[in-house]
Amino acid sequence: MYGDVVGIKDLDLDVYPGEVMGFLGPNGAGKTTTIRTCLGFLQKTEGDVKIFGKDSNRDSVEISKRTGYIPGDFDLYPDLKVKTVLNYLLSLSGTRSKEKMLDLAERFELDLEKKIKELSKGNRQKVGIVQAFMADQDLLILDEPTAGLDPLMQEEFYDLVREEKEKGKTIFMSSHILAEVEKICDRVAIIRDGTLQVVEHIEKLQDKVGKVMNVEFREEIDPSAFDIEGVKDIEREGSELEMIITHNIDEVIKEVSRHQIVNLNLETFSLDQLFLRFYSEGDEDDDG
């Protein structure tokens, strides 16, 4: 809570070892607040946050020794060299080997001899990535990790996440770039106004929300012909019909085939569409 304002509420979320979970939500939804609460930066007024079975506030030091973290917004000592800062943070974690730090710096083309103040926004973000992964932690909590990175470096980051996942690392990352969540995450959690809306595997979420079918018929069709269980949001524009199918696709196809078809398109929702859809539904509920 911030004074009388509730930051996050009714948030019940499990992240399992070895998975990559995406944490989605618009600006101000509570993503960073959730992450900072998990890391013990914020005091909980109610509830429990346990990481590795330990309390996020009481055992924050033990947790942080096994956790790599990229804050959503950070800066470092502007007058110091990158290597000085990274060595300092590495030493705090108790890790002696600099091998991974050097490998990551090379991989992300990060000049260790430069001063922090000489780095661009993207290069500072690389420092954040290197420091989070260099200590080979079991859990990685990443708040908007690719902010400021160019597309090539974003791809490099996605590869890194996949490699870490293969090694059995658990990754919890917030993002508003839905494409990257779709690319690298196993499950996604969506938060809105500090409240968790859904937690689901991306494929299952797509199945749950359904597929969108767009059919262009030879002639205009009465939409009521598709009043079938599992079909919703039918829209007609001339001889074109668009509908969302959650189940009973067999019956829908049979009904479609009774008419002359000019064109047919059946698509799975992208995460972008799911996200927008999810939020527009929320707004409608709110309006209602």
Binding site: F41, L42, K65, P71, F74, L76, L92
Partner: protein, 359 residues
């Protein structure tokens, strides 16, 4: 890993630390080397004073000025001023005699300068004064402000220790205290405001460890600075040939006696920083704290009725005059202040462990 944050404080702040220490050492050394100039003014010998005799009559309202005559002098002029420079001098006699009677005000000491006119040119005869030539600076010590600085002691500015008491220690604590207070606040609020606190305390160091290492780093810096100031003061005293008046022990311990005061200032700075978490408020409050200490000490010296104020002033527990003049290092005060600093610091740690770290 314990110790890394301690060293990081020096790594990131060494320029500021070094610069301030150099300033302090130059000023301390410089003030000591200035002492001989002051000491020489103790018994100012006026040029040609033996040629000019001043005699105040019994009523005190007239003064007779008599001077030594010059060969072939056509006449004499007498000038009067209230300072030796005679910049604002007024001619009070112009004639051929070698004596004159002038009105005299016992409340206004004057300098009299006599010039003879020989072959149309002025020739200096001599100068004398009714002012008390001895220990004019010591008269200053009797005023309220300086009396406060001396702690009511009978201090002479013409002795090295008295000079140091007034000219070094009277400003040293306020300057050093404010600087240490400022950096104690900034070392925390900078980490918060420059958004690196999350990275640091998520890297495996506890909030307590983080504060302790920062506290210790400032404590060590203060200790080094004070010791260096003591060493420089002693070396400067040796350099001006006053080694006998100031021992190594006195020179160093008089500065080290100030260390617990700085520890309290650091602890207060940390407490303010974890409570308010922003530079603007905390810097303002720590400066207010520093100036209020200074004001309290001044108030306590104004009158015996206000002496009790000193009991609530941490500066009151650093009695540098006692060390300088009596060789008495007040161990109780020293450790009492250290305990106080640890208590305030513990409160800062407790607060920091139980508040939100701002994003």
């Amino acid at each position: 890993m314990m110790g890394r944050t301690f060293f990081m404080e020096f790594r990131k702040g060494w320029k500021g630390f070094l610069l301030f220490m150099i300033i302090i050492l130059i000023v301390v050394g410089g003030m000591v080397s200035f002492y001989p100039t002051v000491a020489e003014t103790e018994d100012p010998e006026l040029e040609g004073a033996e040629n000019v005799e001043l005699k105040v009559d019994e009523t005190g309202s007239n003064i007779t000025v008599t001077w030594k005559t010059l060969d072939r002098a056509d006449g004499y002029r007498v000038y009067a001023d209230n300072r030796t420079s005679m910049i604002t001098a007024e001619m009070v006699y112009n004639g051929t005699e070698n004596s004159t009677v002038l009105p005299h005000d016992p409340e206004e000491p004057l300098y009299y300068s006599v010039v003879g006119i020989v072959d149309g040119e002025s020739k200096f005869v001599g100068m004398n004064t009714t002012a008390d030539k001895e220990r004019m600076l010591d008269q200053l010590m009797e005023t309220g402000y300086y009396n406060t600085l001396s702690g009511g002691r009978n201090i002479s500015m013409y002795e090295l220790k008295g000079f140091l008491s007034v000219e070094v220690f009277s400003w040293f604590f306020i300057l050093t205290g404010l600087y240490i207070g400022y950096i104690s606040v900034k070392t925390l609020t900078n980490d918060i405001e420059e958004r690196r606190i999350d990275l640091i305390i998520s890297s495996g160091i506890s909030r307590r460890g983080y504060l302790i290492e920062k506290f210790v780093s400032l404590a060590v810096y203060s200790l080094v600075m004070l010791t260096a100031a003591g060493l420089v003061m002693k070396m400067s005293a040796n350099g001006i040939g006053e080694s006998a008046d100031l021992s190594w022990k006195t020179s160093i311990s008089v500065f080290l006696g100030f260390w617990p005061v700085l520890m309290v200032v650091i602890a207060v700075g940390f407490l303010l920083a974890v409570l308010f978490k922003n530079s603007r408020t905390t810097v303002g409050l720590i400066l207010l704290f520093g100036f209020s200490q200074y004001a309290m000490q001044l108030i306590s010296g104004l009158s015996r009725d206000y002496r009790w104020v000193n009991d609530f002033c941490i500066l009151g527990y650093w009695d540098y005059n006692s060390i300088l003049f009596d060789g008495a290092f007040k161990t109780g005060h020293f450790f009492g202040l250290l305990v106080l600093s640890i208590l305030v610091f513990s409160l800062a740690v407790f607060t920091f462990e139980n508040v939100d770290v701002p994003a």
